[in-house]
Symmetry: C2
Subunit: 185 residues, 2 copies
DNA sequence: GTTAGCATGTAAACAGTTACATGATTGT
DNA sequence: ACAATCATGTAACTGTTTACATGCTAAC
């Protein structure tokens, strides 16, 4: 299963028509509708949409707007739908996870306490915001699959936040206890 | 904070000397010592090691082995240590998470039940293996930072497994209930 | 004798980011 | 005036994967 810009665009257009600009925003939305995807830049989205249209998997048309520039809204075609479903109907690869915070936390004893404190503070705020935005969603309006995914996102973010709230002090206490003399320079 | 092959190599060599081949294996190890990193290929590791040595951040020397080809083992230098710590001593970016399984789960009503079943079965096995391998690690032998990271990994993988065990039936029940006639072709 | 694991490395291809270019509108 | 948001798109660059090339040892 390819997890690239192409698949991201099809996945979003499978749900609702959108412009390139809107796809970008949706992909970064932490209400987690598509948060199991990576963020992508405009420089990747626009060429991908052009190619998908060329192949007949999506169809775009210009929509005029009041007080805003016109936008090119794409809709998925039947061909796009069936190709998307076929492409995801395989045994999935393992989840990919990358965390700068954990790399920092792992080396807390060698880093200044102020850095550790700030990193914890920012992470807590981010996790709280994410939990809140998922809580605001109406789970009932979703398909069983989407409900499963949303509830999972809520659970994991809550668990992550709770762990940090209960254990952040151990990181702060350990911070800087093994600080190398910077005089090495 | 750059999360690339370069940083991965420095992070691993910060812990212990290793060859390119060993760095690859460590980066894929699910005991999670470096599982908050992405997997990388040899084609990325070897050139990165060459460049790091050129810059004096690591130093390599050939180690002969019995019944195996000789290997080039790298050690991190003082310069490498301080540059690595400086590079991670910033406010971390948000975690990056990518899940093919969640994309599949989200569309379960439009996919064949057999596909959903198989995906769940494989994921459960993977999660159980991961939980077991983390459980086998001796947390006491670690620094406080590493302990924090390991315990976090264990917690999250257990939570993920428990959620799947308790809710997989809803996915299976919903599977295929909205199957598009493939006659569209 | 053939597959699997150990070990290193290169070149072509690919995916995606960054920076640039453009331009309209809204709010401060 | 200036910044922010909306909106699209291209070109250069970067990082990483894939495939190839090589060769040795161990196990089946």
């Amino acid at each position: 299963m390819p997890m690239n810009v192409r698949t991201l665009c099809l996945a979003i257009l499978f749900e609702e028509p959108a412009s390139g600009y809107e796809i970008r925003k949706l992909s970064m939305d932490n209400t987690c509708k598509f948060s199991h995807f990576i963020d992508v830049s405009y420089g990747a989205i626009y060429p991908a949409l052009g190619k998908l249209e060329e192949e007949g998997l999506i169809a775009g048309h210009v929509v005029e707007q009041e007080n805003k520039p016109a936008k090119r809204v794409y809709e998925i075609t039947d061909k796009g739908r069936s190709e998307f479903l076929a492409s995801i109907a395989v045994v999935p690869e393992d989840d990919k996870f990358k965390s700068e915070f954990l790399l920092l936390a792992m080396h807390c004893d060698m880093l200044p306490r102020a850095v550790i404190r700030k990193a914890i503070e920012v992470r807590m705020a981010t996790l709280r915001a994410k939990v809140n935005s998922i809580e605001e969603c109406d789970l009932c309006a979703l398909t069983p699959g989407a409900r499963f995914v949303f509830a999972y996102g809520l659970l994991m973010n809550r668990a992550s936040l709770k762990y940090l709230e209960e254990n952040h002090q151990t990181l702060i206490d350990a911070a800087g206890t093994n600080l190398q003399a910077e005089a090495a320079e």
